[in-house]
């Protein structure tokens, strides 16, 4: 069989935004053999495919550091195939799967399995993080070395934090020999206990057990002391409070190798959303207050936030129809993430497109330590073409994701992904 030659793609007249290379200008861009071949004004090369990107943004493919594609174990909620299709529909050319599956991804064959399913899906590029501890139980170290060799990009017990300080210290020390990063879902269980929403006035009125912001902040603060001792690269997942922002700010000021991510919902929604016991707003960390949102947005403006990450967490409708106390946490929203980021950050004047895209491209790539997230000649042809001003209405029944647990259902949003190109192939093209 003859070797398949990928088609050549010429994208004309777009606004090329490549934050890593500080590019923001009108340019044509030619993709061939899975790479960026040429960038310039008025390119006249013939190509198999010509895309007119007038008034559109052309950017490096987006990277999402935090998704739950539920495989192995909960394929009724999502599969790597359905999640991957959803990812490219959202403009994401690389995603990082969390290891809190059933069973947990805590050894090398599971890492290889996820990679294989990702290759078969042939949509977005699938990365995976391994668990820090066996079965994510927080007790014994998982085989981090073997998982790293199998291609795990980092480690986390996401879904819960590593409670035992000695275990966390040991994990960080051990991981430091593999040049990978350790990420943490910061939550001190002794304080958070059975909490299901932010501790505060609304929890009191609703009679629901609250999670004190301190539960997040204390573990984050503890971990940063451990970073000082071990020097390991540390990433705080989905930070949600003004206090956490302050702790990250100080750690960065001290030059520590600390990064963090925030989600669309922690940039947009407050605990007020929970007042009708609507479980679609039940997430962990819980939705906080307007004060926290303001602090996080300010941190974005100041460059303290490294990455925007969806924490895409699909669940069955029947699970979300349980009592608020028992319903699972999570929001499915990777397909509408980009317009939500825009709403939270650009429409509010926090930052412009180049700065916002930096947190979706080269900055998360540098946390992963992979050569992605830029769009210069010679780079891998992972790209997204965005209509920044197109309006559309979120309809979760049309999602590629199996998850319908989307609180943004019915929202009219601005910014639409037109094309998602992975390794030079168009893997998603918007209808009409």
């Amino acid at each position: 069989m003859a070797k398949m030659i990928s088609e050549t793609i010429l994208i004309k007249n777009g606004r090329l935004i490549d934050p890593k290379n500080k590019v923001d200008r009108k340019a044509d861009i030619l993709l061939a053999d899975g790479q960026v071949v040429k960038i310039g004004k008025n390119l006249t090369e013939t190509a198999d495919r010509l895309i007119d990107a007038t008034d559109k943004i052309v950017a490096p493919g987006l990277i999402d550091l935090h998704v739950h594609f539920r495989e192995p174990g909960d394929e009724e909620e999502e599969t790597i195939a359905s999640g991957s299709a959803a990812a490219v529909a959202g403009g994401f050319t690389s995603v990082v799967c969390m290891p809190n599956t059933a069973p947990a991804i805590d050894e090398a064959t599971a890492v290889e399995y996820v990679h294989r399913m990702g290759r078969q899906a042939r949509k977005t590029y699938i990365y995976v993080m391994g668990a820090i501890t066996k079965e994510r139980a927080g007790k014994e170290l998982a085989e981090m070395g073997l998982m790293a060799q199998a291609g795990a990009v980092g480690f986390t017990d996401d879904g819960s934090g590593v409670q035992d300080t000695a275990v966390m210290l040991r994990a960080m020390k051990y991981a430091s020999m593999f040049d990978c990063f350790i990420a943490q879902h910061c939550e001190d269980r002794s304080l958070a206990r059975n909490g299901v929403m932010n501790a505060g006035y609304n929890a009191t009125v609703l009679g629901l057990p609250g999670m004190d912001p301190l539960a997040e902040e204390l573990m984050l603060w503890r971990d940063i002391q451990l970073v000082k001792k071990t020097g390991v690269r540390y990433h705080a997942q989905h930070i949600s409070t003004a206090g956490s922002v302050e702790i990250i700010r100080q750690a960065k000021a001290q030059g520590l190798p600390v990064t963090c991510e925030v989600t669309p919902h922690h940039l947009l929604l407050t605990e007020e959303a929970v007042v009708n016991y609507d479980t679609y707003y039940k997430v962990n960390p819980p939705l906080r207050t307007q004060k926290d949102i303001e602090a996080i947005r300010q941190a974005v403006a100041d460059g303290v936030i490294d990455a925007l990450a969806t924490d895409h967490a699909p669940h069955l409708k029947s699970e979300k129809e349980l009592e608020f106390l028992t319903a699972p946490c999570g929001i499915a929203g990777i397909e509408c993430a980009l317009p939500l980021y825009r709403k939270a950050l650009i429409d509010t004047g926090v930052c412009g497109w180049p700065q916002m895209l930096s947190m979706l491209t080269y900055k998360p790539a540098s946390i992963l330590n992979v050569a992605k997230g830029s769009l210069a000649v010679g780079d891998r042809a992972d790209a997204v073409i965005i209509d920044p001003d197109a309006q559309w209405t979120v309809d979760s029944s049309k999602f590629y994701s199996k998850g319908r647990n989307c609180p943004y259902q019915g929202w009219t949003v601005k910014t639409k992904v037109l094309y998602t190109i992975v390794a030079g192939e168009i893997r998603f093209a918007a209808e009409d």
């Binding site: 206990r193 059975n194 501790a199 505060g200 006035y201 929890a203 009191t204 009125v205 609703l206 009679g207 629901l208 609250g210 004190d212 009708n276 016991y277 029947s318 129809e321 349980l322 009592e323 608020f324 106390l325 028992t326």
Partner: protein, 322 residues
């Protein structure tokens, strides 16, 4: 404006009773007035009236209850409804069937009113979104217990005529009490001033944002109270140990004969039950002349008849408009 015209003009429109937080003063008073008209029932030789004849009421109790359950059963029977008793002590989830599925199944059998008690705050609200029957909250987690608060204010009104200007103390485990929350709404809306008393470890977050005063010192405030409502420690909901021992708790917050001597001589002593005698209240106080605890229970029947009557009426009205 006299009560008569107020009652005549007012139209009750809620087919569910989930809580008192969003009820107006007028709505609360309307329930109390309706209850009053049912009160004389208990003294008749034939204790039955027809308004719910042909209707089915299901008591869905996912938590233990003596007073509330029997009171609702009796109230429904007196209004001539058929009553189904559904008991599932453990959570529906552990049994494999979800709350919604259970409720939909019961509704398929033609249930008109669901009376629900559940350990999860918000469970009654969840039902209202998924079934068409009327939903009456008989206590959900530590969210609300509206009929308890209604019978509490009914009892106070019965004795004192009105709640306007009364000073009321609610003492004990506020954090885990649905009774406290519903009480706060009902009492403050009817014009009383409420003070919550208990150790800080049993106060909920941001309690200062509620329309109440807060005290950690019962002895310092008891002499102001016209009414004192003693709450049970919700041992089943406590996490850790919010106070060192029952003995120490009783020492600071128990209503003893000694402590009662400092209160106004005509103070009303209330308790939603079940009582832990010797913990939050001494037996002699519970059974003493200031206690209206059994009167509360008696009034619960009239209040629940009124609630069942009104939600059914609202549902019928809604049906007619369709």
């Amino acid at each position: 404006m006299d009560t008569q015209t107020k009652t005549e003009k007012f139209q009750w429109t809620r087919k569910h009773l989930i809580g008192l937080s969003d009820l107006s003063r007028r709505e609360i008073e309307f329930i109390l007035d309706t209850a009053q008209s049912f009160e004389e029932f208990s003294t008749r030789s034939i204790k039955k009236a027809p308004p719910l004849r042909g209707k089915v009421v299901v008591n869905m109790f996912f938590e233990d209850s003596t007073r509330t359950r029997n009171s609702f059963t009796l109230a429904a029977s007196r209004l001539s409804a058929d009553v189904i008793e559904f008991t599932e002590k453990s959570s529906s989830v552990s049994k494999g069937e979800t709350l919604i599925d259970t409720a939909r199944n019961l509704e398929a059998m033609g249930v008109d009113i669901v009376v629900i008690r559940h350990s999860a705050g918000g469970a009654p609200k969840l039902l209202t979104r998924c079934i068409n029957a009327c939903v009456v909250n008989a206590g959900d987690g530590y969210h609300e217990h509206p009929t308890q608060a209604l019978l509490d204010v009914y009892t106070i009104r019965q004795v004192r005529g009105s709640l306007d200007g009364l000073k009321i103390g609610i003492v004990g485990d506020i954090a885990h009490s649905r009774v406290a929350r519903s009480n706060i709404y009902a009492m403050t809306k009817l014009g009383a001033e409420v003070t919550l008393v208990g150790p800080p470890t049993l106060m909920p977050a941001r309690v200062q944002d509620l329309p109440v005063k807060v005290s950690y010192n019962l002895d310092a405030v008891i002499e102001d109270f016209d009414v004192i409502n003693m709450l049970r420690i919700q041992f089943e909901r406590l996490g850790g140990n919010p106070f060192p021992s029952v003995r120490e708790y009783s020492h600071f917050f128990g209503l003893t004969v000694e402590r009662l001597k400092r209160a106004k001589p005509d103070i009303l002593v209330m308790h939603p039950g079940p009582m832990n005698r010797g913990v939050e209240i001494e037996s002699e106080v519970a059974d003493g002349p200031n206690s209206v605890i059994l009167r509360q229970v008696a009034n619960g029947l009239a209040v629940r008849m009124a609630v069942l009557f009104l939600v059914n009426q609202a549902a019928a009205q809604e049906q007619k408009e369709k």
